[in-house]
């Protein structure tokens, strides 16, 4: 009885300590920095998120992004080790839906191959969507992922 009471007390206390930190499970700044500075392109923006398979709304995250015409952009995806083939980053809009015909993705729907980055040559300025999501069927407790948008150069 004493042992049960002691364990219950300890667990309650630990839960109280851990709870405030659980809400913030995005990738750490060091990882964002490493991902943002690994190429020669100019860093423009990052998309940092936590991912969890148990909750549907935490399987993915979405951002809007304005891109400029005739700019060559690079999208890099970084995840903790071991999660490289479990997370997908996709660029899309309403005319090019995320799951059927996106502009670009780190996962090639036809070949089933993963890459950690893709380039996009924008031909019309406007608002686009970026999503980072767990691949269909992947079950994991939690992880984080960071996408980096950078500028490669102009094309005209």
């Amino acid at each position: 009885m004493k042992r049960i009471a002691f364990i219950t007390t300890l667990l309650a206390g630990l839960l109280f300590i851990i709870a405030p930190y659980k809400a913030h499970a995005q990738c750490k700044q060091q990882m964002v920095y490493a991902c943002a500075t690994k190429g020669k392109s100019i860093y423009l923006r990052d998309f940092n998120t936590k991912l969890r398979s148990s909750k549907q709304h935490e399987r993915s995250a979405r951002w809007t992004v304005v891109l400029n015409k005739d700019a060559h952009y690079r999208f890099n995806l970084c995840t903790p080790e071991g999660y490289e083939d479990k997370v997908i980053m996709t660029l899309y809009d309403s005319q090019h839906p995320e799951k059927t015909n996106p502009y670009g993705s780190t996962y090639d729907l036809k070949t089933g191959q993963h890459s950690d980055s893709f380039d996009f040559i924008c031909r019309k300025s406007g608002m686009y969507y970026i999503s980072i999501r767990l691949k269909e069927g992947v079950k994991i407790k939690k992880t984080c992922a960071v996408g980096i948008l950078s500028f490669v150069g102009s094309t005209h």
Partner: protein, 310 residues
């Protein structure tokens, strides 16, 4: 379990909670997201309605980074010129938070230009003004002035300088949005966008080229989004002044038409290092006359100079 033991475990639980709270509180001191916002904000900083807030958040979070225009201009091999930049001393006249937020956007775009062109000696001068504005807006905690200064003066690792610059700007923006001060964020991105347009038009005056001409015309798409966002605050005096000026830009952009055509290029190729490259299969065609581009140059200069001196 007797009464004494229950008391003992209750006491242990209380102690754990007490100790954990010390950790949590001390952790919060280091956590930049936990700065308290005073309940009574100055009258000029009324909080936006939740509906407006949502629209504004989407606009602000989607907007281009303060270094993007500079990166495009540098890529055109246009030489650096200090005369395109705002005087960092202008901030002395900024007496309300709305002006400070707008000025923070203007100077952040200039800082982006200096970073991309690696003008480290000038960077420190701009950093001081940006830091002052950020502190006044109570977002200075996202701005590591010492790290900036160290990177700028050491003349090393310019990638880090760009990262720090863009990251600080987006953290300030995100913090303002999360604390229902999205109207200040909107003014920051307005400043960034206007300074970017000013930079493009000034460069075009001296180095005219088709790429820049199209880019200036194509800003219509981005301007339209921004203009709609600003209109949400049309009842505020300061926003009204900005809208009055933006009406002039709108008048010219409404004459410019954008059409779309299909592009016949392979959709996917690869870079030399094996990165897949996707090219958009539709392109916008900007129908802009010489008169219209000249009007945009003139009006942008007038509007920008008026707004930074308001």
């Amino acid at each position: 379990m007797n009464k004494g033991e229950v008391k003992k475990y209750f006491f242990v639980l209380l102690m754990i909670i007490f100790v954990s709270q010390i950790f949590v509180v001390s952790g919060c001191k280091k956590d930049k997201d936990k700065i308290e916002i005073p309940k009574n904000l100055p009258i000029h900083e009324e909080r936006p309605s939740p509906q407006n807030q949502e629209v504004v958040d989407q606009i602000v979070s989607s907007f281009p980074s303060p270094v993007e225009v500079a990166a495009i201009i540098k890529d055109m091999e246009v030489p650096f010129s200090k005369k395109y930049l705002a005087d960092p001393g202008i901030i002395d006249n900024y007496d309300i938070n709305f002006k400070k937020a707008f000025g923070l956007g203007i100077l952040s775009a200039d800082l982006g230009y200096l970073n991309v062109y690696e003008r480290t000696t000038l960077i420190v001068e701009y950093l001081s003004s940006i830091k002052r504005l950020a502190d006044d807006l109570r977002v200075g905690q996202f701005f590591d002035f010492q790290a900036f200064k160290r990177l700028a003066t050491s003349n090393e690792n310019l990638d880090s300088l760009v990262f720090l610059s863009v990251n600080s700007f987006s953290n300030m923006n995100q913090y303002l949005q999360e604390n229902a001060r999205g109207n200040l964020s909107l003014l920051m991105v307005t400043g960034v966008w206007l300074e970017g347009l000013y930079l493009m038009t000034q460069v075009y005056k001296e180095h005219p080229n088709d790429r820049l001409r199209e880019l200036i015309g194509d800003q219509k798409a981005i301007f339209t989004i921004l203009y709609q966002g600003l209109k949400l605050y049309k009842d505020d005096d300061y926003f009204k002044k900005i809208l009055d000026e933006f009406k002039k830009i709108d008048k010219i952009y409404s004459q410019i038409t954008i059409t779309y055509e299909k592009v016949k290029t392979p959709q996917q190729t690869k870079t030399q290092s094996g990165i897949p490259v996707y090219e958009q299969q539709e392109r916008s065609v900007i129908n802009i006359t010489d008169q219209q581009i000249n009007d945009i140059i003139t009006i942008t200069e007038q509007v920008r100079n008026k707004l930074i001196n308001l």
